[in-house]
Point group: C2
Chain length 187, copies 2
Amino acid sequence: MNFCSNCGARVDFRIPPGDALPRHVCDACGTIHYQNPKVVVGAIPRWGDRILLCRRAIEPRLGYWTLPAGFMENAETTAAGAARETLEEACARIVVGEMFTLINVPHISQVHIVHLADLIDLDFRPGEESLEVALFGEDEIPWDEIAFRTIGLTLRHFFADRRAGRFAFHTCDLEPAVLPRSTAART
Amino acid sequence: MNFCSNCGARVDFRIPPGDALPRHVCDACGTIHYQNPKVVVGAIPRWGDRILLCRRAIEPRLGYWTLPAGFMENAETTAAGAARETLEEACARIVVGEMFTLINVPHISQVHIVHLADLIDLDFRPGEESLEVALFGEDEIPWDEIAFRTIGLTLRHFFADRRAGRFAFHTCDLEPAVLPRSTAART
């Protein structure tokens, strides 16, 4: 952030009076610009004993598989966001169920929330951000090609809970990954 | 938003190619400025059978009682944010426990998350944003003077679960309040 989005003047980066953290402050119009974590919302769309995954057509993690998920929009709920993302990425319509996982990802200032869901029908196809969309049974999941750690964790909880016959809510905090130098940064 | 925070040019408000919602778009440098919901994190600090509430020294809802809570900051977890807000508003140190409620408040683009917590000691006092800080038993809660609906709902779940002998995770979506014309807008 270089300029004030309200008045267009240059902003300063400093701790405002009464605050504890540095903020982008506009001395021309007095606006303090706060920056806060973003919520990513997604779904586990179920059809019988299979679930729907999308292969990403965009970076980051182009070509890897993920659950339909994306940034929560203003004025929507987590469930509405999960349904919207599933429609956008897989052209699939779902009934959204219980909140299933909430994973803090502080090193990228995100909170990832995934709901259980049920596909309404088998009328799905890749949206603009997907290369492929397909249903997978537990023994077909491409574990080595899952795009994000939060999605891998969510899938592991899902299959463990399904085997146990009871879906619980799971929450945890993710530490930054320690990756080999040759591997691209990922979550 | 009137100006691009990256380059300072005037922004346009329109639907970018491949998107579904209008965004603030900068035609000078190409930046698309997304605006997303904010997360509010808080705690229920317990001491024996009482809990800590703060009386607000700031708007909105100045003079009303609330749990310590505030906007989640970048690079922190929900639990870390709950502890920070409790320190800021009540100068109180807590051990943060399980996530207890997550309430969607779409009409103000917020998600409110409250954790169970235990006070470490009785060394607390009002922070800059509080007029008073005090411990309340269930029969002492000032139900008519609670600042926000999400806090009232969370407190009701807390005492119901405590009576049942088991704390579960609760999540729901809040509709806009229908208020008498004479009442100030509140959440």
